[in-house]
Symmetry: C2
């Protein structure tokens, strides 16, 4: 954010050491690692270090080694700084060591070296990198992916930070420097995959896989490639007929398979290292194998055959549910859909297919249980999908620090065996295990000058990269890191980290209560509309009446809880052991149900909504305390958002409280104002 | 609709008589009357009559006189057919007489003659015009106006019959023959004014009053002129600054007044008989005099000075209310707005200003009381605004025959004096009286082949013209007329007239109950959304809780009822005398309130909703009985709409019933299915 040269005194211990660097010759990514090191030092310390390739090293030798671990092991100048056998980094990992007058940054591969450079620069800024420092890290997630929902028109579905950085008016149209900066941003937190176009591939976006666009796609891919990032393209499953003019897109039709093979060959001619295709099929109106009475494995495996010869993979979304539901029919439970559709197919997918599963069974709600597929799938590659863009979490108007939620997600124990928390399950796929191979998340970035609309929402993009790199990190550590890197270590960073940490609980309190979900303005998904989805076709109902609220998803209801491991099924099915922040997702409860704090459910609804709004007001006041220490532009733009957030929080508080007061006629026991 | 030549036998009594016609030379409208007579006879009887001008009449004389009353009085050939002194028609009226071998159609003016021709053709078709027939008619409403809400883009705000017939892609772009057909359609029911562009004058539409568009506006005006129809232009009150680049649009600023005078002079150079401007000011975000702390009379009078020298008038809409209301504040009552704003200004408006007042205090709801301004204004010209396009009445998907409602409106007694029903108040303005000078209504017409989307919705356009011509007509008479003219006299017409007559009561039953209004999908305004406006900024709340529903608008509440004459104020304020179809507009009632039929309010809500849906189902079955007697295209397209209407009616029934069942926990006493 703020350009700055570090305090020279603080940097002194390292300054001498950083003046000469031995860099290994390598590919594009290695060259970028070298360049990032040079630029970083220049920006932070004000000088460009001398960079030598092995043959040109001066007689005194270099202070710094930058390269891969395998070269380090052969470089006798740095023999003392080699990692112990237990500290040799794994795939995409790095090793950093500072000892006396020498330092090494060694990647397991070129990307690892790049990540090591970025990490070193961050650690130097925050004063952690000093003599004696040693760090070996390997990302837990092999796949670290960003999804863009950018439309070719330039608008972004669920984008709250301006127009697309990739597209404009039906063309690929971008500022090269901005894309390079974005690639740097992503690589600095370890992202290695990006899909550039919306998963809803409609109208002209279908032509992205034609020669009309592929040249421009290749130019984009070339920018990301330097940063170790491969691109995915979102494709439309119906392309063989909508684009190819075949009579069908049936995945078992040989002509369809041949069409995709030919199409893939063409695409890979332009982008030889394309990561593959991202597919939303049979979902919210998109075409898919169900149209032809085929299974999702039929569809995905056919596509896999097309990209596999080129080293590509298919990422197949599991967001498949009946979106034309009749609210009158309580027998259909949308929450069951992903498990019901995909669990029976475990083992049926090709090894080049990766399922992408939303973290919860609904759709990125403020609070949902974990989708029961996690821990249950044993024979299918899969990643978890998160959402960085704040669709249901405040549109980057309201501050809502998402790593707070993600930490809870990572700590969830699927109870499918020992070491079965999400944190423990993240890792390279092994057949027969339930490893989650990584994460995908919907980007929150657009053309806004500060990237994310709300300046403080940058922490969500940063935090996503950090947390999927190491799911054992806490939201608090990440908030502190981001705040210090953005505002410098000190009181300001502490206040801002505190704001981040208080934001999710506040948002959750003034939102739909206790995991009931979807009391939000239809389509827009900002602000309250308590019955907005109640009679709709989307399958997301709360069925509040004058006595009770919620859907019974226990075995006496829809049976959703039985999709979990026995231990979790039992835990969820019993209201006294079900986590209270999810209790209305799982149970239908009377308003006079007594919660753990001894108050009724209704009183808890009132209390949380008064508190959430008060907390939003407090955040605004806290921000105002920073008026004199922040750049005016940042201060004012965030101030404006906190003010809008408070208006939103008031609407939530008052509409929710009035709604339940009207429903029940029961007053707030503390006598606070509830409108008639 | 269906092109047809009449049964020759049925026409025989008139056929000989119609072969020679004496037509007076006159202006464009007279020429059109002649042409319409010739075309009509040709279409109905298969031949073109011989048409003679007075100097060319053959020795045997003509059988038919077609011209003005003043010429008829001087034409000795038709001396026996002159009207008695009591039957001489007034402004825009006509006299028709058939006697032996002669017939006259004589207008009070050329337009009257044209209306007489159309009426004669209709009466001949329906077998009413025969020997001995005599009819003298004068329209009760001097101003008979249609408002188009057509945007210059070609879309129509609240249009349900395709794109605009006037505009396309930012240009005036029309098929000349279609516009002439439309003018014929309007003139055939007596319309004499039309505004061609949306009252929300935004973006490029502001340029309609510039030379970029005025030539095209003039060409359109020329087509309508032949049919006696003058056009209005909707203008933007802010034009002096948005278009003219003045620093203000303050109506009391001499530069602003001068700008409008100059602009009017330019416009009238292109369209010398322009009727004037239609203005929506200070309404739903449009600019207006309030911005400059001026009154609406200041604004309207200033504009009047600009158009008056050219014979123009200002039609000024009274749809002024606070559209940024806080739902928490029960002290603001939108229903009061028109009266509160305009009653104090009675007498302050220039005599070239005509206020256009929506029939009800809200906005074209299915059932609203009459705006209390009617009968109360004594020193201000005004017209009543109706809506033909089915914004809240079913989008021309659901059949909803509006003259049913309009008949109730016409019969409403303002009780401001003797002869104070709306029917009795309609007539030419006289200072000191409360005469309503006519009507304006929003068109339901677009580019759809059948003009109105739903073929049977044509009856609403037809019925509007007929009912404002003669407010004493019944909805039933009009339904019969339209059905016979459209489908020929007989059983089919009887069935269709019956469908029309049953449609409004059915729609009203399954809609928001008992005048409570606005339980409709926000913005779209089709289908139920019971709390859709409940927490919005639009001021339209029902505040249903677990015991009661409605807003108290009596003196113990917002005092709205006191805006009426003392007799009506008393009648409305007492629930036992308030009409029950409006009772929830005026009163907040408990669900156990006993209505006149001895059932509770709640049970009445359930009953009407079951009934309304059943009636929609019955209409569908009735329509199916016409399968073999109708043209396939008409049958199928209307069938499709009845099927969609039934889906809609079911949604209304089930959502309303479920909503109140959830709110109260009280079951339907007849045990019908209400979903949980």
């Amino acid at each position: 954010m703020q350009e700055r040269v570090m305090d020279q005194a603080a940097a002194k211990p390292l300054a001498g050491l950083l003046e000469s660097v031995c860099v290994e010759q390598g590919g594009e990514v290695a060259a970028q690692a070298e360049e990032e090191f040079r630029r970083g030092i220049k920006r932070l310390l004000g000088f460009s270090p001398a960079m030598y390739t092995p043959g040109t090293v001066p007689s005194g030798g270099c202070a710094v080694f930058l390269g891969t671990v395998s070269r380090l092991q052969k470089n006798s100048d740095f023999a003392d700084l080699r990692p112990d056998s237990g500290k040799i980094p794994g795939a995409d990992g790095f090793f950093i060591k500072i000892s006396g007058k020498k330092m090494v940054i060694a990647g397991q591969n070129e990307a690892g070296a790049l990540y090591g450079v970025f990490r070193f620069l961050a650690l130097m800024q925050t004063g952690v990198a000093r003599d004696g420092f040693e760090l070996s890290e390997t990302p837990k997630s092999p796949l670290r992916m960003i999804n863009h929902w950018d439309d070719i028109s330039g608008s972004i579905e669920r984008g709250y930070a301006g127009r697309s950085i990739f597209f404009r008016d039906g063309r690929i149209d971008y500022e090269e420097r901005r894309i390079a900066d974005y690639a740097r941003l992503l690589a600095s937190v370890g992202i290695n995959r990006i899909s550039i176009n919306n998963v809803n591939v409609r109208a002209q976006a279908k032509l992205l896989i034609t020669e009309e666009y592929l040249g421009d796609v290749a130019s984009l891919a070339a920018i990301f490639r330097r940063y170790g990032i491969k691109i995915f393209l979102s494709i439309n499953f119906g392309a063989p007929w909508s684009l190819g003019k075949l009579p069908t897109a049936d995945p078992l039709d040989p002509a369809v398979a041949a069409w995709w093979k030919e199409r893939a060959a063409l695409i890979y001619k332009y982008i030889p290292d394309l990561a593959g295709f991202l597919v939303k099929a049979d979902s919210e109106g998109e075409p898919g194998p169900f149209q032809y009475n085929r299974t999702h494995s039929d569809g995905a495996n056919m596509l896999a055959q097309a990209v596999k010869p080129h080293g590509g993979e298919i990422v197949w979304r599991c967001f498949v549910y009946n979106c034309a539901q009749d609210w009158r029919d309580p027998s259909v439970d949308r929450a069951r859909a992903a498990y019901d559709h995909f669990m029976p197919l475990d083992g049926a997918f090709d090894d080049s297919v990766i399922l992408q599963i939303k973290f919860g069974p609904y759709d990125f709600q403020v609070r949902e249980p974990l989708t029961p597929l996690f821990g249950a799938l044993k024979k299918t590659r899969h990643v978890m999908e998160l959402q960085i863009t704040q669709e249901y979490t405040g549109h980057q108007i309201d501050l809502c620090y998402l790593p707070w939620l993600w930490e809870d997600i990572m700590r969830f124990d699927t109870a499918h065996g020992p070491a079965s928390t999400i944190t423990e399950l993240v890792g390279p796929y092994k057949k027969g295990s339930s490893f989650i191979e990584g994460f995908a998340a919907v980007s929150n970035v657009g053309l806004d000058r500060n990237w994310t609309g709300h300046t403080l929402a940058q922490a969500n993009l940063y935090g996503y990269g950090r947390m999927i790199w190491d799911p054992s990190l806490s939201a608090e550590e990440i908030a502190r890191e981001w705040s210090e890197l953005s505002f410098g270590p000190g009181d300001t960073a502490r206040v801002i980290a505190g704001l981040q940490m208080s934001s999710y609980p506040a948002y959750e309190k003034y939102n739909a209560p206790f995991g009931v979900c979807f009391m939000v303005t239809p389509h827009l998904h900002y602000g309250p509309n308590i019955e907005g989805y109640e009679f709709s076709r989307w399958g997301t109902y709360h069925r509040a009446d004058n006595r009770a609220i919620g859907i019974d998803r226990t075995p006496s209801g829809t049976g959703y809880t039985n999709q979990y491991s026995p231990k979790n099924a039992e835990m969820f099915a019993n209201p006294s052991t079900c986590p209270e922040n999810l209790i209305l997702f799982i149970h239908r409860l009377r308003y006079d149900y007594i919660m753990k704090n001894g108050e009724t459910l209704l009183q808890n609804i009132y209390d949380t909504h008064f508190e959430g709004c008060d907390e939003a007001a407090a955040m605004l006041e806290k921000w105002k305390s920073l008026k004199n220490v922040l750049e005016v532009e940042i201060y004012e733009s965030v101030l404006d958002r906190f003010e809008r957030q408070l208006v939103n929080a008031r609407e939530w508080r008052d509409q929710i409280n009035t709604y339940f007061h009207r429903k029940t006629g029961i007053a707030d026991k503390r006598g606070r104002k509830i409108y008639d």
